[in-house]
Amino acid sequence: MAKELKPGQRRVTAGSVVADLMIVAWFVFSLFPLLWMLLLALKNDADQTSTYFAFSPTFDNFVTVLSQRGQDLTSVDFGQAMWTSVLNCVGAVLVSLVVGVPAAYAAGRWKYRGSENLMFQMLSFRFAPELMVIVPLFVIYNTLGIFDTKVGMVWVLQLVTMPLVVWILRSYFQDLSPELEQAALLDGYTRIRAFLTVALPLVRPGIAASALLAFIFAWNNYVFPLILTDSAATTVTVAVTKFLGGGGQAYYNLTAAAALLGALPPLVLALTIQRYLVRGLSFGAVKA
């Protein structure tokens, strides 16, 4: 192992070939379903059940998913659902940032009574079963008239986005020497300006990472929109599942196309921010 730990010291041995084969095996398992979805999504209605790998590709399914016909099949406007998801997630992340950045800063800078409780409360949201709050929220939302609205979704998605933002950013603020802000105070800047001009720019990677990760997880959430929305504020995750039960007849190719469309934004985002993801995924517990 130690030999392999050092860069530039690689030899082709039986062991290294076996290791490479194992890696390849994993990635075949890991990537095949995605590849298969792509193939399925490119098949026409006839090919979808008659052939596995040889067919003439078509983009019709993507068009259909987003068209009136898709809406007729599933009673959900898929394009509308995607747009709703975008608005919900952007809204939820923005609210979490506005609310969470000051809280993360306070928790990262001061040891004050209740700060640890607050942080643990946040963490417990991450691990709490969603249904615990959903049933009462269902009643509350109906009372407040925010059932099946974007406002309602943005609020409930805080359960997903807030813990991420607060925990990740606290770990970034903790890593930042308080003496930098102290220097700014002595330079004559107020605490707010010291925070805005010194601390905040230095945790920009943390803000980007937590915001994008929060966006991804909010996008991927299924239970909240499943129960707290109907048709007006349906999100993409719910919309995808509607294709599965498409009125008796199976539309595998359409389902695959919808699944791909729903999976695409998180995949693209993840590949662009991969560098920062590790720390975010572990809530700052693992720093890479």
Binding site: M1, A2, E4, L5, S16, D20, I23, W26, S30, P33, W36, M37, Q48, T49, Y52, V95, V99, A103, Y105, A106, W110, Y112, G114, L118, Q121, M122, F125, F127, A128, P129, E130, L131, M132, V133, P136, L137, I140, Q158, M162, N220, N221, Y222, V223, T237, V240, L244, A250, Y252, A259, A263, P266, L267, A270, Q274, V278, L281, S282, A285, V286, K287
Partner: protein, 318 residues
Amino acid sequence: MTTTVGGRRPTEETPPGGARAGAPPRIPDWRRKARPYLLSVPAVLLIIGILYAFFYGVYYTVLDYAATNPDPQFVGVANYREVLGDPLFWRSAGTTLLYAVLATGAETVLGVAIALLLNRSSLIGKTFERLLILPLMIAPVIAGVIWKLMFNPQFGVLNHVFGLGSTFDWLSRDRALFSVVLVDVWIYTPFVAILVLAGIRSLPQEPFEASDVDGASWFYMFRRLMLPMMWPYILVAVIFRFMDCLKVFDSVYVLTQGGPGVTTTTLQISAFQDSITNLNYSRGSTYMFLLWIIVFITARYLVGVLGKAQRRAAGAGV
């Protein structure tokens, strides 16, 4: 270096601004002390909003609230007695635990193995590393949809590729639990692998080089050096996975709705069926509250274990 500054000394004159004019403003002590609290107020308010719903849910557990009973009465611990006396609850709890143990176990072993393999930084490993994260970023419910299509006995690609014919049912009574675990493994093994890989890469190199010089075997180094130092990272991954498994819903629900029968009915699916499908809110809430207690206790315990391991690893890392 000169002792004077080119004929003009930088700080010759007093500041022309109003810095010295008048007594400096004072900020009372309480305002100073209130700062962190003020910064947390918005977050706390938001939490209170959610906690309100939570406690409302807890309140439901002592009522007989259901869609069929819009005027609920206080029933004390009747719901708890009913749920705890219900074989389905224990069956669901057992299924959840089995799911969590199987999935977390498989993901940990595979994830650590993948991390070790990728750490060799071979050409193939480097090529694929960027793609490792992909399944993890897909919504679990969409992952469920994808695998449901692949599991399809007639047209699914799995039976075709493995030559299983059109009668082999991946989601049959005997296999359904293992199949939903397989999907969990597909989604979340990268999570373990990514965390552990980051952990390995942050380990100090010196101990390995030293024992390499001493001629220690690979296995010895792995067991005595690498594993103890990696342990906290593995634990973080295990904790996150185990806790998430306890409340698994999305992928299982879309694959099987808890069936066939109750073979894949986890606690959260059970609660969903009670409160959403059957509209018995109190019973569903009782399920959830019991699950919440389990999650909470497990979390406290595992976080304690993690703290211990981190301290030990800090010692081993020197």
